[in-house]
């Protein structure tokens, strides 16, 4: 097996371990998860309770009548975590900035007792040290092993310098995540993107987007200007996210009835344009869709936004409309295009909800 392949399989297995947390979360266990994540991380995948998840997945598979073996024992065997692994506490995979490559994976494994966890690997022949860290061999990859609080830290062997940094890194996300700790604890697994992660991710994405825009702009066609204007509008949104994104959380839970819910939270610079924009949405309401008939439908939507907010949202729609109109045989003047857009905008005023119903005879 190549190193890359083994690395990928290791990440996959750890991911499965993390994914196991898609069961009932333990609010007490996940509290204070921010203190385990250094602020300079790009992001983290968090699991609350792998053992409970295993039980939930088994329950789900039984309910679906799918003969799937229990996942947790299999994952523990592959990773060599039979002793000392506390499968009732949160496990994390961090995306940490590295020296040899931009992002390195750091695995935080909850332990009942670190010495017991070490035993998993001490029996192996390749037991050795590098810069004082133990080199351990899982069934899939060689890793460096260290202790940080109640966690065992595991990192691929070649990133020894990054492990030095990580062990000494004491600035964490505790404050940034304080408002969301309870919310995170209500879920079973979560992905957290930090301010640094959001900004780096959006920057990289915008570079790709700029290339796509340049390629599209070079294509001849009647609607190039309209499409370019539309893409400029999109890039304005992406730039705002890059400048003002503070925290992104995606968390999932599987409830006692096996319903799946995925929740997302995005926070922005409180002094920025995006926060001011979203504040205009007005108070959220309930009991929407109530007057729609209960007939078969494909999509049913309900939108209850303050008028000035809806007006802003209509802008990209108007841009698409303009692109469509520019494809017509006879071109409208700029003044006529504006009149057309205004008429369309007015036709949306007072519209609250809708359903598309493929009703048949």
């Amino acid at each position: 097996m190549s190193l890359l392949f083994r690395r990928a399989v290791f990440v996959l297995h750890f991911g499965l371990l993390l994914g196991l947390s898609l069961g009932l979360g333990s609010s007490a266990r996940a509290a204070g998860i921010g203190s385990a994540i250094p602020s300079k991380s790009y992001g983290a995948v968090v699991v609350n309770d792998p053992a409970k998840l295993n039980s939930k997945i088994s329950g789900l598979m039984q309910a679906l009548q799918l003969p799937v073996p229990e996942v947790l024992p299999l994952v523990k065997f592959q990773l060599g975590f039979n002793n000392g692994f506390d499968d009732k506490r949160p496990a994390l995979m961090l995306m940490y900035p590295g020296k040899k490559q931009p992002v390195v994976p750091v695995f935080l494994v909850p332990t009942t007792k670190y010495a017991d966890f070490q035993v998993n690997f001490a029996k192996r022949e390749a037991h050795a040290t590098l810069k004082g860290y133990e080199i351990v061999k899982t069934n899939l990859d060689e890793m460096l092993l260290a202790q940080r609080g109640e966690y065992a830290v595991m990192i691929p062997k070649e990133f020894d310098e990054d492990l030095d940094d990580f062990i000494l890194d004491n600035v964490n996300l505790g404050d940034e995540l304080a408002k969301s700790e309870t919310w995170l604890a209500e879920h079973d697994a979560a992905f957290i993107a930090t301010k640094k992660g959001i900004r780096a991710g959006m920057k990289a994405f915008r570079q790709e987007f700029a290339q796509a825009k340049a390629i599209m702009g070079a294509q001849p066609g009647p609607n190039v200007d309209g499409m370019k204007a539309f893409m400029d509008g999109l890039d304005f949104v992406f730039k705002s996210l890059e400048d003002e994104g503070e925290l992104a959380l995606i968390a999932a839970k599987l409830d006692a009835q096996n319903n799946v819910t995925v929740d997302q939270r995005y926070a922005f610079d409180p002094q920025g344009k995006l926060s001011a924009f979203f504040a205009k949405a007005g108070p959220a309401k309930s009991n929407d869709l109530a007057k729609l008939p209960a007939i078969p439908f494909i999509v049913a939507t309900d939108i209850q936004l303050a008028p000035e907010f809806g007006e802003t949202l209509l802008k990209p729609f108007k841009q698409l409309l303009r692109i469509g109109l520019m494809q017509q045989e006879k071109q409208l003047t700029e003044e006529q295009l504006k009149q057309y857009e205004e008429a369309v905008q007015k036709s949306f005023e007072g519209l609250r909800s809708g359903a598309f119903c493929p009703r048949t005879v």
């Binding site: 949405a281 007057k291 309900d302 036709s347 493929p358």
Partner: protein, 216 residues
């Protein structure tokens, strides 16, 4: 559609349609509309002529496919007709089939239907936060069946030579629901998938695979 005030909305819509009709004519579109009573309710009939020809011109390489898809969606005609009628003070019903529109108007008048009280819709809505700015319900089963209907038409057009036998109709299932809440603190979004949908999809896929075990 739910609107704040249906008569006012309809009146303004007529005004805007007049503007759109005039501008549409100048860009080469042939759109007409007339106000009419539909099942005793105020309403509109909107007709867009030459739409198939227009689509063919815009997609010259796919004229045959466009024709099949258009026939499936709108029937064998070159004009696209739509109706919009006021069902009550805050409800408007639009459609491309006048007979079905009348059925829907009757259902609403009889007050026999409430979207949020339907058992399957309720399963999904109950999983979403109570307070939200936007809600979207997507019926995966209905969408799948709609697409299969379109594929059937395409297969007929091409002599049944593509895709082999089509899967049977997907049973009625609860929708996937998504909600959005916005505030100065940011954006909160929830997506809910009821177990009944997961279970039905699992059974459906297993039946299609032709065995009773795990497919992988």
């Amino acid at each position: 559609m739910q609107v704040d005030n249906a008569p006012k909305y309809l009146k303004r819509y007529v005004e805007e349609l007049a503007v759109l009709q005039k501008l549409g004519a100048e860009s080469g579109q042939d759109v007409t509309f007339k106000e009419k009573q539909i099942a005793g309710k105020d309403g509109l009939e909107i007709t867009q002529n030459g739409i198939l020809e227009q689509l063919k011109k815009q997609n010259p390489g796919n004229a045959r496919e466009m024709n099949a898809m258009y026939s499936f969606l709108f029937g064998n005609r070159d004009s696209l007709q739509q109706w919009l009628a006021q069902a009550d003070d805050t409800t408007l019903v639009g459609g491309m089939n006048e007979a079905l529109l009348l059925d829907t108007l009757r259902d609403i008048a009889a007050k026999k239907s409430d979207f949020t009280k339907d058992d399957d819709n309720k399963l999904t809505l109950d999983l979403l936060p109570a307070e939200r700015h936007m809600t979207m319900m997507l019926d995966i089963g209905g969408y799948f069946n709609l697409m299969m209907g379109m594929v059937k038409v395409m297969m007929a057009e091409f002599g049944g030579g593509i895709g082999g036998n089509l899967p049977p109709e997907f049973p009625a299932v609860p929708s996937v629901g998504t909600s959005l809440k916005l505030s100065k603190d940011g954006v909160e979004m929830t997506t809910a998938v009821p177990f009944k949908l997961i279970n039905t999809a699992s059974n459906y896929i297993q039946a299609q695979i032709g065995n009773n075990g795990f497919p992988f």
